[in-house]
Symmetry: C2
């Protein structure tokens, strides 16, 4: 066994990459709200599910429990300022759509709004609520994914370099873009 | 309300970014194994937890249940071939460390091995097992994060541009690198 030269950083929430999810919900009065979350990801293929973890103190936490639904709008690099803002203020006191001049669209499939101007959105029906500690994990079953045709490649699949999603780096608390193509999955490893 | 011009892609597992986690476990005989998974992410801050979802058919699934532990080794762009290979073959029939000439290191904190040559690793004790359908979600409590000093910035935080983690794009099944710095979180949105 080779001894490790690695340095301990402690028990912390640090993996790369983490996503930048803008979570859309309605409150009790029907006001659309959005908040930004980086603790989440896909968690099941069949049924297709995506997880997002939120603190109980957030306005969105109560909204999801009441409406049994949420959306995820994926911000592009162009919307980094709005995406960051959505994580800085609470929907309890601010109408974030109004302050950013972005447009809420009512999902036809779930009881939640998404961001019109964001190019990729995921509509979710609440499937599981898992208490983990400071955060509650909401598992949503994906009812549909929608995207602007402008970010699609030939053949109908999405082109990630046109979506230009943000990556959050937890340790330095910074947003990064997507870089270069590195390899094709289920293919590049066949050479071993 | 503005009508959406978005096109429906159907109910599928499609968000950006998704991570490339190399999950390390021991089998019943004590043989170290690794497999690659993209369905996962951080799911709680206190206690610090990370989730990874695996199909029941995988060798790693049984290993985690038996050992109550796993590690996540984050592959860099330099190791894309090995990371992809770890998702192509099963530890039931192959010793993946032997075939890739990578080095398993026994964690001193949890009953699982990690990949010596990968620059960032996370050691997890199994905390929750959640059946979601085709995939089982394993929530691990992070006991420690370790990194090579070569990927650290001044002050001890990690430099994501030195870690060079992979991003997986589910729709096109391709790996991408990390791109340019786009903005500082909890800061760039304050201008709104």
């Amino acid at each position: 066994m080779v001894s490790s030269m690695k340095k301990s950083l402690g028990a912390k929430t640090l993996v790369y990459p983490t996503p930048v999810f803008v979570v859309g919900t309605y409150d009790q009065a029907g006001k659309p709200n959005v908040m930004t979350a980086a603790w989440g990801g896909i968690c099941c293929s069949q049924p297709p599910c995506v997880a997002v973890s939120l603190r109980k103190a957030t306005y969105t936490h109560g909204n999801i429990l009441a409406r049994k639904a949420f959306t995820i709008s994926i911000p592009s690099e162009d919307h980094v300022q709005q995406a960051d803002y959505f994580g800085l203020v609470s929907g309890r006191s601010v109408d974030k759509f109004a302050t950013t001049k972005l447009t809420p669209v009512r999902s036809e499939l779930v009881d939640a709004p998404y961001v019109q101007e964001f190019v990729l959105i995921v509509e979710c029906k609440l499937a599981h609520v898992i208490e983990l500690g400071l955060h509650t994990q909401f598992v949503g079953e994906v009812m549909d994914v929608k995207a602007e045709e402008s970010v699609m490649a030939k053949g109908g699949s999405l082109d990630i370099t046109k979506v230009k999603p943000l990556v959050f780096a937890p340790d330095s608390q910074a947003y990064y873009g997507i870089g270069q193509f590195v390899g094709q999955a289920f293919s590049v490893g066949q050479g071993i």
